[in-house]
Amino acid sequence: MPGGRTKRVPEPKLIFEKSRPGRIGCNVPRCDTPEVDLSKALGKTRAELDLPEVDELTLLRHFTNLSQINYGIETGFYPLGSCTMKYNPKVNEATARFQGFANLHPMQPEATIPGAFEILHGVQSMLCEITGFDHITLQPLAGAHGEMTCLMLIKAYFEARGESQRSVVLVPDSAHGTNPASAARCGYDVKSIPTDADGNTDLVALEKALAGEDGQKVAALMLTNPSTLGLFEPNIEKICNMVHAVGGQVFCDGANMNAMVGTTRPGDHGFDCMHLNLHKTFSTPHGGGGPGCGAIGLKDHLAPYQPVPVIRKEGENLVADYDRPLSIGRVAAFYGQFLMEVRAYTYLRAFGREHMADISRFSVLNANYVRARLKDVLPPAHNRPCMHECILTAEKYKKEHDVRALDISKRLIDYGFHPPTNYFPLIVPECLMIEPTETETKETLDEFCDAMISICHEAVENPDLLHDAPSTSVVGRLDETLAVKQLDVRWKRPQPVGV
């Protein structure tokens, strides 16, 4: 079998199962203070706490073995669509650990941290130039948080203008689920706009949603560009003009910014605001729940409402400006995820202006290479070049061989690759969404494509191989339905027999 693990790894025991009473894993210094009875201090005895007790070597092997069954970008190709799982250069980690950054305290007087302000302002300035917006706010802690912050600014803008009747947010049916969720969270009614046969926003439906009295109720359109179909919206300027003509605002979901960095700028397309995922596009690590950074870009007219503090230049100095009476307030503690900004700063400066476009060019090239190599076995959902990710459909395997996109993905685990995104966007049947990113070599892409082609042949010749996959991983096919219905994430000590 090409690549990957070839036999199932035994399921590891939990640290609790390895525990034996009285075993100690660390050499505690001699106690030079009065001893305190644990049960008196905590109200629980050692036995009641039920913590695992193991020796140092058992502990070390336990976590080393666990780390070896983990899968990440540093162990293999991770083509999870809409997630931009690019490699994050180690130099970002080195700078984030500089004592001058890592040991800062958020309550330190401003006068003592000009270097930190330099980083924040530097990231803001570079992102302004890359996106074409007038202002950048780095506070939001995740992509959806950035979306929501943009909508809060739009809401404040309309309230200040006496246009509170604008209660509707338009969201294309190809959007990330967070878009309608952010709009609903801000108190807006969400109206879905369909996608046309070419994968673009349906202009006839949009015109209808903006017509007459309905148009006066529209606060904003939330548009992902390139769309989640991996396609650049060719009517982008026209769409922005249509929404502006009825007085609405246009938000760009920047989850797919990797396709545009250094090549084209959403601020120039006509958007009023956008969010960026620094943890995707600008290489501050992500996955496992963060910490992320959902920076937002704004045009001048939304700037009075932006969150405080605003880091800006005053004469020769950088200051944190809190004196902004129209501000929506804070959306995060202090300055957001500061060390993420250090990583983004490092990444941006490492590329520099002259190489910035390499990010988008190579990510688009890699996605189109995968698309072209797989098109005979997995047809693209739309017959035109894609941007940074390709959307393929496994519909024919479902119809002819009872093999679903999910089965193909599970089989890919046996070949040693992380599966792509499945069943998103929802409007493509049996959808596989592959985003290779710019950091992969042609050799890796070829190994992946060879595996996919081989799996598609297996789907025809021996579909049960796919139905039963994965067969080489620590756990086999999981019962996802049972997991959702009876969520059980806590280990319980088995009761002794006969009690």
Binding site: N422, Y423, L426, E480, T481, V484, K485
Partner: protein, 125 residues
Amino acid sequence: MANVPADLKYTKSHEWVRVDGNLATIGITDHAQSELGDIVFVDLPAVGAEISQGNSFGTVESVKTAADVYAPISGKVVAANAGLGSASELMNSDPYGDGYMVTIEMSDASQLDGLLDAAAYSALL
């Protein structure tokens, strides 16, 4: 192939309607449940609620996604399938029977004329 019983009416958005006098029972089609995958949660309107044609009256959540279910016709809910609360999988195993969602008292039976018959619905799949 998806099961499309001949005696029901259908919508383009994959709901079915079974008419019995002035009552209409509504659910999602076999094709819809197959596309959604295993259904894990169903949100239904309360008995007595008014539902109106074309608007969402409930939500179905599967391992893949959450989807709105749209009212094929307007009316007042006289029964909501309480059994789905603990056994949402009935929508997968028996979409036209025990997996139904609601029964309504129709407010305008002429709306039925605008729905699809089995042949027209099958042609969409």
